[in-house]
């Protein structure tokens, strides 16, 4: 299974790298978000605020990439004619789909590097990590958690073709309710429980606290727990939706 996941990651990185539109979007998004964030918080003298803003921009870029790509992942396979072949394979379909969403999420490593470098070069933001080891741990944990949220989103699309737009329409609301754009404290109280259920909230918190200080372990643990929950729900959904798709003949419809 590990081999299948790694092979899937490799193949989907290759596919992403050979699409001009994907490469342009992946390259530009984080820099664009980071620039907006720097100017929004430009008046702040506290370098921590700017660093936090740039890290928020990174997680925004990761989520945008996953929201768009996960939403389209099944539809793309359907259009290529590979969806039926992947469903007809003897492995659980979730194990085939997970690398697609994790690969798009892992683009976040580039997003982070580009954002921090951009901030360092243009805005002279100091790069200082309070817990470098925990930072190195929190990044992959956040990437996998957001990738798993993408898997959960994608799992609904095997049957509901019309839900393709869902991925894109979740982009901005998730930025908002997970505190990537504005602090959660300024949002109404009922938003908090929703944000706790979303991986970007904890991913962002883990990355931020390992960078500027705090105790990121709780956020890292929550990210891991949410990843496991998303994966379990996605696998159950995929089984149910696969059966529905076999019953209603929606696998091959373009």
């Amino acid at each position: 299974m590990i081999r299948l996941l790694l092979s899937g990651l490799r193949i989907h990185f290759l596919l992403l790298s050979r699409s001009a539109s994907e490469v342009v979007a992946i390259t530009i998004w984080p820099i664009l978000y980071a620039t907006i964030a720097y100017y929004m918080f430009g008046a702040e003298s506290d370098p921590h605020v700017l660093l936090t803003a740039s890290l928020g921009a990174t997680v925004m870029a990761i989520w945008s990439s996953v929201a768009f790509s996960a939403g389209g992942a099944i539809e793309i396979q359907r259009r290529l004619g590979t969806l039926e072949l992947l469903v007809a394979a003897p492995v659980p379909f979730g194990a085939v789909l997970a690398p697609i969403t994790i690969a798009t999420s892992a683009i976040g490593v580039y997003a982070l590097a580009a954002t921090l470098l951009w901030g360092r070069l243009l805005f002279a933001i100091p790069l200082h990590f309070e817990h470098p080891v925990l930072f190195a741990l929190s990044l992959p944990v956040a990437i996998v958690a957001i990738g798993m949220l993408g898997l959960l989103l994608a799992s609904t699309l095997i049957y509901y073709r019309a839900a393709l737009f869902l991925g894109a329409s979740f982009d901005y609301p998730v930025w908002l309710v997970t505190g990537l754009l504005v602090p959660l404290s300024v949002l109404p109280g009922w938003v908090a429980p929703i944000s706790w259920l979303l991986a970007p909230t904890w991913g962002m918190r883990a990355i931020r606290e390992s960078t500027i200080g705090g105790s990121p372990l709780r956020a890292i643990a929550m990210s891991i727990a949410l990843s496991a929950c998303y994966a379990a729900i996605a696998f159950v959904c995929l089984r149910a939706f696969e059966r529905l798709a076999r019953e209603r003949a929606t696998l091959a419809l373009a």
Binding site: L4, A88, P90
Partner: protein
């Protein structure tokens, strides 16, 4: 028995409309029954929309049957899909089903992992298959640069990665040029000689005649005949086919041909400017003159009486279904 299909039915309810969703039921399969022996190359022959692809999709676990049962190597395709998938290969015709931006080798490596080919020996298996389908030396080129024939051969290699004992080939020569199609038929024949059980769907008669040991003719979701190519030809062995090349024959003239005494069936094919009228009868060449009298107002070219082929048997079966 490698494949056993008993009373298989499959219907669809395609929905229309957004606010008031309407749907009507379409019966794609109306209770078909057939079986395939181990090592046999079995053809499923029928016109477009006859139910060939639906049959294959049920057998490859991509569709659930509405009624009836289907087993592959004794495993129920509806209840044991995972077990069935380990033992079958599925190849369909056309350009789709591959990652065009990747090379053939990258495609095969990925599908080898998806189809659980053990890591040890995976490269050797891929090399062996590239050799079999004649793509050795071209495996590092992107699939988008391949011809249709090369893509189709790559599909075959992909379907064979996990060495399945049963292969489902859904119109694999669709859209191939004659040379590409001939090469592919040779590959299919080699697979059968190697002991694979193959279910091949096609609407090319000569292909079925050349390759298949037995054929089932499917039309309108029902099997209308099963047997060897010789059996099917034998159904109209007592008939003669009169092939008439005509220009400007009206529908009324064709109708009149059908009412000529002794005529069993009439079909018309268009070949460039000409209409080729195929008349089946049990009266042999003595029927030529009465037929030509009915075509007086049209221009008539060659008139050739000949022995029936599998295609004539097929036209007769489908026409009378």
């Amino acid at each position: 028995m490698a494949v056993e299909v008993i009373g298989l039915k499959r219907s669809y309810r395609p929905g229309r409309g957004v606010v008031r969703r309407r749907s009507r039921e379409i019966e794609a399969l109306r209770g078909i029954t057939f079986s395939i022996e181990r090592g046999e190359l079995f053809g499923l022959l029928g016109p477009n929309g006859a139910g060939k692809t639906t049959t294959i999709k049920v057998l490859t676990t991509l569709l659930l049957p509405s009624a009836g049962t289907a087993r592959v190597l004794g495993l129920d395709v509806a209840r044991q899909p995972r077990e069935v998938r380990r033992r079958i290969g599925y190849v369909f015709g056309g350009d789709r089903g591959l990652y065009d931006r990747l090379s053939a080798l990258e495609n095969l490596r990925y599908f080898a992992d998806v189809y659980r080919v053990p890591a040890r020996g995976q490269r050797a298996r891929i090399d062996e298959l590239l050799e079999l389908v004649g793509l050795k030396g071209r495996e590092r080129e992107r699939v988008e640069t391949y011809s249709r024939g090369m893509k189709q051969r790559l599909h075959i290699a992909r379907g064979l990665l996990h060495d399945p004992p049963v292969l489902f080939l859904d119109e694999p020569t669709l859209g191939l040029d004659p040379v590409g199609a001939r090469e592919l038929r040779k590959t299919i024949a080699r697979l059968q000689q190697a002991g694979k059980t193959i279910l091949l769907t096609t609407h090319y008669m000569f292909e079925a005649d050349e390759l298949c040991q037995r054929i089932a003719v499917i039309c309108g979701g029902k099997i209308v005949a099963t047997g060897t190519p010789a059996d099917l030809k034998g159904r109209i062995a007592d008939r003669t086919i009169v092939e008439i090349e005509a220009f400007g024959a009206s529908d009324a003239m064709i109708e009149r041909l059908r009412s000529v005494d002794g005529v069993a069936s009439v079909s018309v094919e268009l070949r460039e400017q000409a209409q080729v009228i195929l008349v089946q009868s049990s009266r042999g060449s003595e029927l030529v003159q009465p037929l030509l009298r009915e075509l007086e107002d049209a221009r008539v070219g060659k008139v050739v009486p000949r022995q029936p082929t599998l295609e004539d048997a097929y036209v007769d079966l489908v026409g009378s279904a």
